[in-house]
Structures are given as C-alpha cells and as structure tokens.
C-alpha cells in the first residue's frame, strides 16, 4: 500500500510540476465563446464561467498546492527540528521554555489566525505573494504540534547511553545534537512531515472555499473548489467535482503513506 501511495503521489507531483507541458492550455487563457462549456474533446473537464479550460487550471492548481503545501510542511518540521535540538542542547529550562511556547501556539486557533492574517493582505496583493504568505503562515504557525513530539524524542535520545558516552568523550553540545541526536529523530520528523502536508492541503482548500485562498487568476485546488458552492452547477456539470476528487485522492495517499510508515516503525 505504501509503495502504491508513494507512486501515486510522485506521479501527481510530476504531472503538476510539469504543468507547462501536461496542461493543454495556459491557466488564464480564455475561450470567450465557450463559457461554462460541457466536457468535450477539446476541453476534457469543460470550461469555467470565464471560459477557461478546467483541466489546465486543475493541473496548474496542483502545481501550486503540491509544491507549496509540502514546502510549508517542511518549514514547520525544520522549525520543530531546530527547537527539538535546541531543547536537547539547552537543558531543562530551555526545554520548558520551548514546550511553553509550543503550548501557547497550540492554544491559539490556527485556522482563525490564518483566516485573519490572510484577510488582512492588501487588496492589490498579487496571487503569488498571497500564496507565499499563506503557506508561510502555515509553516510559521504549525510548528508547535511536530515540536512537541520531536522535543520528546530528542529528550529521550539525549538521555541514552550513546549520548552519555559521547559526552564522556568530550564532544560538544552542538556536535552531540547534530551527529548523535538529529539522525535518530529524522524518522519522527519524516512522519510529522507526512502528517502536516495533507493537513496544510486541506487548510488551503477550506480557505479557498471561504474565498480567502489564492486570489484569481492563479488557480489552486482550494480556489477551484469555489465552484462547488452552487448545487445547480454540480448537478449540471458533475465534472466540476474533479478538483475535490483529486484533493481527496492525494490526501488519502498521504494518509496511506503515514499509516504504512507507522506500521513499519
């Protein structure tokens, strides 16, 4: 299952990454004579209200979502890893301080902060800036969960025999953290990355559906879901459910990879 999920995710990632070649049209190209067109040979998923090819927008949207969500997850996990190593090096006070900060961040409603910060971007913000700010916020605000797990793991390893041996050999704190502790908590970091990525994809989708996702004309999977707000549009053009289906499959792929990872551990 893990192999199948990994292959699926890699193929989606590759298709999205090379959207310039895989998409039939540019994402902003308008076919003004064909607004809200049904699925056809030239437009496999039809066109939207502005006459833009849905398949092309789906592929370009995948590129944005599939690149930035893992990047944000990586940012969160790297921050958490840094704090975990700091806690391992700095002693009990440092660890308490980091855990208190993590508790504070966990006490703040992430989705609410994200909503507020996203809404407060200037009206003329470019779509690229909005995307970077939004996923940057996700990375900056989402470190606390992984940090709690990784600080615990780092603490456990910092009390182990091999770290004690390294200390008696006169190794410095930084060397111990980087050479002896970090490689051991990397599997935990990998699992946290796999957990954070789909949750960031889902958060972006929810924000997009609320109209606070990536602004037009740049597509993301979240912003493509806005078409689902009209039930009559869904019954008339069921293919507009494709972005939701793609998002579902990708998130399911990540979940499978995580559960397989847990089983392996």
């Amino acid at each position: 299952m893990r192999t199948a999920a990994t292959i699926f995710l890699i193929s989606v990632f590759a298709t999205a990454l090379f959207a310039d070649y895989t998409a039939p049209y540019p994402f902003a190209a308008q076919f003004r004579e064909l607004p809200n067109a049904a699925a056809s040979g030239s437009h496999l998923l039809g066109t939207d209200a502005l006459g833009r090819d849905r398949l092309s927008r789906l592929l370009y949207g995948a590129r944005l979502s599939m690149l930035l969500a893992p990047a944000a997850a990586l940012g969160s996990v790297l921050l958490a890893l840094g704090f975990a190593l700091l806690a391992a090096m700095g002693g009990p006070w440092c660890e308490r301080l980091i855990l208190a900060a993590a508790d504070l961040f966990l006490s703040l409603p992430l989705f609410f902060l994200l909503l507020a910060a996203r809404a407060l971007l200037p009206l003329h913000t470019t779509a690229e800036t909005a995307a970077i700010v939004m996923f940057g916020l996700l990375a900056g605000l989402g470190w606390a969960g992984p940090a709690r797990v990784m600080v615990g793991a780092a603490k456990q390893f910092s009390r182990s025999d091999f770290v004690l041996f390294a200390k008696t050999c006169g190794h410095g704190r930084i060397r111990i953290a980087l050479v002896h502790i970090m490689p051991n908590i990397l599997p935990v970091a990998k699992a946290q990355f796999l957990i954070a990525t789909p949750s960031y994809l889902l958060a972006e989708a929810s924000l997009g559906l609320l109209g606070l996702g990536i602004p037009e004309p740049v597509p993301s999977w979240g912003s493509l879901l806005r078409e689902l707000e009209s039930v009559s549009a869904i019954t008339a053009n069921p293919w507009i459910l494709t972005p939701a289906l793609c998002l579902f499959l990708v998130v399911a792929g990540f979940h499978m990879a995580v559960s397989a990872d847990k089983t392996a551990v």
Binding site: D103, S107, A116, A117, L120, S206, L209
Partner: protein
C-alpha cells in the same frame, strides 16, 4: 495530618499555577492575535478607499479611522483596561458594540457546536460499542473506510455538503468531529478489548454487554474524557467555516465577516474568547487524562 489533608496545599499550588498559566497564555494569545492583525500588510486599508467617487478628504478620514489601532502596544494596554471594565470596544465594520454582537451570536454558535458534539459523540460511541460487540471484520472495514473518507475531505467542503443535504450547522460539525472521535476511541477500545482480563471475562462467560460496559468502556473513560476536552477545541475550529458557509448567524460567521472587513476590535476579542475556550478545554482534558488531581 491525613494523606488527603497533606495533599490539599499541593493541589492548591497546582490549581494556582494552572490559573497563572491560563492568564499568561490568554494575555499573550490576545497580543499575538492583535500583533498578527496589526503587522499584516493590509492593516489600515479599507475597500471604501478604492471608491473613485470619494473625495481625498473622505479617503483621508477613512484612513484616520482605520489607523486607530496603529500603535499595537498602546492599543492592547488600552483594550485590556477597557476589558476589565466590561467594554469590548465597537466593531469598525458593523458600528455596534462587540459585546452586543458576541452576546447575540454566542447562543447560535454554542447550540451548533454543542449539538454537533453531542451528535458526533453519540454516533461514535454507538458505532464503537456495536463493533466491539459484533467483532465483525466487514463492519470494521466499512467503518474504517467511511472514517478515512471523511478525514480526507476539507472541513469547508463537508460543511457545504451538509448544507446541500438540508442539514443544520450542527450536522456539519458532527460530520467533522465524528471521524476524529471514532478513530481514537476505536483504537482505545480495540486495545482494551484485547487485554487479558477482557479475554478472561469472555472465557468465564460474562455477558457481552457487561464486558463492554465494565471491562472495555469504563477503563478507557479517562482517555475518552480527555478526548472530549480536545473535541471542544476541534468544534471551535470547525464552527468558523461551518457558519460562514451554512449562513448561520453565529460567532463563526462574525469572525469571517470581521476578517473580510479587517475589523480589529472584533478579531482581537474573538481571539481572546476562542483562546480562553481552548485553554479551558485543554485544562479539562489534562484533568481527565490524569484522572487524579494530585497527578496534574
């Protein structure tokens, strides 16, 4: 001094420490919310400023009005002073006292979240109990598939789906919470159900209902109570997209409108309110998890 009496000062110290931590996090949470809003690049801008029909004087007046909270430190200290007097300020976008707005909408949100929580818990516990009683692999697989499917759908999309199906916001909240409660609860029940004392109870011919009640559900009660505290947080998080998309006039919809209108007084107050609810439920979850006051 009896052991119970000697434990009392310790218990008091623990409660005091918790309360101080509660206040500190609350104050810092409000400050973080206010700072985030203040440092956002669009702070002080208003859609009305883009209206070409307005004169320069009108636009400057709007800009002055919107820059009221520009000095975040002063704004926050002043806000805390007013908060102690029960004054939560006035909404910039709606022109009404925030206290009034929250008072009007709180009931709707509490009802939606409460009903959603009750529905999700009832359903989750019923399914967990049924699976534990029947021990049917097909039923187990079906429940797992449904839960995984629900977990892979964005909460906002679940809210839209429930709205289309004619369900109240409470149903959407329940649809969001159910898979999370079920997954954790089922794992706990499965683990406890395989314990040696439960196998011994089965072997000695105890009734399945008695085993479920006394040997499976009762031992996992502290964990489930802790999960109940955590699910309050989840319900608070879910209520924003649910109310915004289901057009329900609650605090979630107010937050969404405030976010769109860059309404600092509403955002800071709701941040504090939500942080307080989150902290209180976390505290309750900690207490339940430890199950003994002296172990907190």
């Amino acid at each position: 001094m009896t052991p119970r009496a000697s434990r009392f000062p310790h218990l008091l110290a623990v409660i005091c420490r918790r309360l101080i931590w509660f206040m500190v996090v609350l104050l810092v949470g409000g400050l973080v919310g206010a700072v985030l809003v203040r440092v956002a690049p669009g702070f002080g801008t208003d859609e009305r400023m883009l209206d070409a029909r307005l004169s320069n004087a009108s636009i400057q007046a709007i800009a002055r009005e919107r820059s009221g909270g520009a000095d975040i430190g002063w704004y926050y200290v002043d806000y805390l002073g007013r908060l102690l007097r029960g004054d939560l300020g006035t909404s910039v976008s709606l022109g009404r006292p925030v206290r009034e707005l929250l008072g009007e909408r709180m009931g709707t949100s509490v009802r939606s979240a409460g009903l959603g929580l009750a529905l999700a818990w009832t359903l989750a516990l019923a399914v967990i109990g049924l699976l534990e009683l029947c021990r049917n692999p097909a039923g187990e697989t079906l429940a797992s598939v449904i839960v995984e499917v629900l977990l892979c759908i964005p909460v906002a999309l679940l809210a839209v789906g429930c709205f289309y199906l004619g369900g109240a916001p409470a149903l959407a909240v329940a649809a969001i919470l159910f898979p999370r409660i079920f997954r954790y609860g089922r794992a706990l029940a499965r683990q406890t159900g395989a314990a040696p004392h439960v196998l011994a109870a089965h072997a000695s011919g105890e009734s399945p209902w008695r085993i479920l009640g006394f040997h499976v559900m009762l031992p996992i009660f502290p964990e489930l109570a802790a999960l109940a505290g955590v699910t309050v947080n989840m319900a608070v998080g879910a209520i924003i997209p649910v109310e915004a998309l289901c057009d329900s006039p609650g605090v979630g919809a107010l937050v969404w409108q405030a976010a769109l209108a860059r309404d600092l007084p509403v955002l800071v107050n709701v941040t504090l309110l939500v942080t307080a609810v989150t902290l209180a439920s976390n505290f309750a979850a900690d207490v339940a998890r430890n199950a003994r006051w002296d172990a907190i």
